[in-house]
Symmetry: C2
Subunit: 402 residues, 2 copies
């Protein structure tokens, strides 16, 4: 399927699989792409990772690295993660940490754990596309979570869920530098999510994939930390924190984690035994070594590089975009979210932009569970070097002006 | 939970999670264990794997190895596998190959693809425990497949499934050196499975995890090869072949595959996008290099080592076991299956054996979907060195005689 055919065929919301198809088609050298949501491979700590594989496979650990492993994951890595969670205000130990094959697998398992067909998941409008895709397998409906204010009453959420034959099961959100908007919830908004979840007696799935990538401003405690403080400790919390090494160290190694009450971890372990036994042993041993040695330095390196790219993109938008176009100013993460004047369809714009301006982005309505948001788009700045912003953004802006 | 508590608490069939708990508890230096179903880590091609990680991460491929990857898997690896499948009589190309995180993930996905609650899966009595665990998540019932002869009529299978509110969806089997029995189906038996599947119009899931490990006798074509020959090519076949590198190169890298009609592969790819995006890129790049360079030599090495261990175990059983105990004589794989006289419960025997003889095995009834087979047990020979068989088997035999 060619890209233009794909775009021309879109009468409704693009699916995640179509977005991925789109990204493959966009991978052409003369296209300036703000579409992919991937880290810059030039910034991977490839040398540290290479050394760690060599050390693990060259010493007494080779047998363990290449052999089957327990489903909950490699104990030293789980301990290291528990220590990091402690620094974020979440007192926990290895029994609260479950290793996943990236945080996508955490979303899949949590969907499987909570959702029966017809149940309701609360998500923001827009939200992370991969979460919708993971949850969709379990046939929920979605209702809208508005952490910025304006939620329905608990009774109204419950009534809407019951009218569809199910119950509200969880609220899912990306509180730090969200994909796709780049927005961050302040402490009060996080507390309000916990209030609502408490009244509904539902779980909160906190997707913290971008959390370490803060370029300015003060960090806000994880929802899980606030939950532990009010509930009396992690094993009484309702929040399930999904973390990942993908954005900091390497997505290709597929190592993420869930930090959650022990009774939830125990269920996830059984699920993993049945579904893929365990995440690759060798990658867990290596990730542990690499995290111990370079995690903090790598975060600093990425913050320096991505902050500059974010600033470059924001500056180019400011300098070039016509009136009526607005955008988010993220304090971290990978994405800027732009809103076009009403009536401009970003999917149609993408078709023209790829053809005429050779500039790509992801149309925003893919991220809306209800298929709205047609006048929005997502721009990733992780690969946005000086040329990309100084050439690409003016070309995109010219299209919008024309 | 202590081992003896665990065993004492068993009034019914052990679950896979309990077996795994058992295996952890059995990991004591003075226990001679025939329980684990794992390859010998001393035989892993650790050096070749170490070199491949160093090469992949030291050269121009580092970025791709550490980055996100397409959900269907790394193309050169899929091509290599397609070539191997061709040598087994399955003409196919990369569009028929889907990379999984071990063949356990293939079983999970195929269960998800085919089974709705109440549907029927046909499995042998006994069958691979991990398959039951993967399928159980989708709430099927099981009916008995007898490839050795004695199947019900298609109408009877259909009626039994309908009486439970579902349909027969697939037949699952391990045709070569099965886990747990060690038995291999001959060509006629494989053709009969295809006949039955054709009459029922269901899929056949061929679990080929042990296929390369043949120690004597002639190879039998994969069911998929026979299916392709009668159906006119892989894209018209009903057989889904699950392969794995776990038993030959390394289980800890978690790389397996499905070889199947293109329309099935396409569905599996969407499932994988939603569930974990892709198997680790780096392990796929490395597995491709390692498979290209050492696969055949590694198979030879394992055949030499495991054949000797199988012969040692069979010899010790012959020399020591009392009358009334019988066992399989596998032409390959990892397991010997023993049947005790009626009335001896292998779970009770294990409790005594661990306490009095310090010898361990897996009680066979865990492998029966209906919880029968209480007088059976599985002995793995992959770690059975001379001492294990010359000391362990006489001690186990003495218990049975006493």
């Amino acid at each position: 399927m060619t890209l233009l055919n794909l775009l021309a065929s879109r009468s409704s919301r693009m699916k995640a699989s179509e977005i991925r198809e789109l990204l493959k088609l966009l991978d052409q050298p003369d296209i300036i792409s703000f579409a992919g949501g991937i880290p810059d491979p030039a910034l991977f700590p490839a040398e540290a990772i290479r050394d760690a594989y060599a050390e693990v496979l060259g010493g007494g650990e080779a047998g363990a690295a290449l052999q089957y492993q327990v489903s909950e994951g490699y104990l030293p890595l789980r301990r290291w993660i528990a220590g990091r969670m402690g620094k974020l205000g979440v007192a926990c130990d290895e029994a609260n940490i479950f290793i996943t094959s990236g945080s996508q697998q955490a979303l899949d398992y949590l969907g499987k754990l909570f959702l029966s067909p017809g149940d309701t998941a609360l998500v923001t409008w827009p939200t992370y596309l991969g979460a919708l895709q993971a949850f969709n397998a379990y046939e929920p409906r979605y209702d809208r979570l508005r952490p910025e204010g304006g939620n329905m009453t608990p009774d109204a959420y419950r009534a809407a869920a019951a009218a569809n034959g199910g119950k509200v099961k969880f609220a899912y959100l990306v509180p730090d530098f969200a994909n796709p908007t780049g927005n961050t919830l302040d402490r009060q908004q996080r507390e309000a999510v916990l209030d609502l979840a408490g009244e509904l007696d539902i779980a909160v799935i906190e997707d913290a994939a971008y959390r370490a990538l803060r370029y300015d401003g003060e960090g806000v405690p994880p929802i899980l930390a606030l939950d532990c403080a009010r509930s009396g400790g992690i094993d009484k919390a309702r929040t399930l924190y999904c973390g990942s090494f993908s954005k900091i160290l390497s997505p290709g190694m597929r190592v993420g984690w869930v930090c959650a009450p022990r009774h939830v971890v125990e269920k996830l372990v059984l699920m993993k035994q049945a579904s893929d036994l365990h995440s690759p042993s060798i990658n867990q041993l290596v990730m542990h070594r690499v995290a111990e040695s370079v995690f903090d330095g790598q975060v600093e390196k990425l913050i320096g590089a991505y902050r500059e790219r974010r600033d470059g993109l924001l500056g180019a938008l400011e300098a070039n975009m016509p009136k009526g176009v607005t955008w988010s100013r993220p304090e971290g993460g990978m994405f800027v979210w732009a809103t076009l004047p009403e009536g401009i369809d970003a999917t149609e714009l993408l078709a023209r932009s790829v053809k005429e301006a050779r500039v790509a982005f992801v149309p925003g309505n893919a991220f809306y569970a209800d298929g709205t948001g047609r006048n929005t788009l997502r721009l990733s700045f992780t690969l946005a070097d000086r040329r990309a912003v100084t050439e690409g953004i003016p070309r995109l802006a010219a299209l919008l002006k024309g």
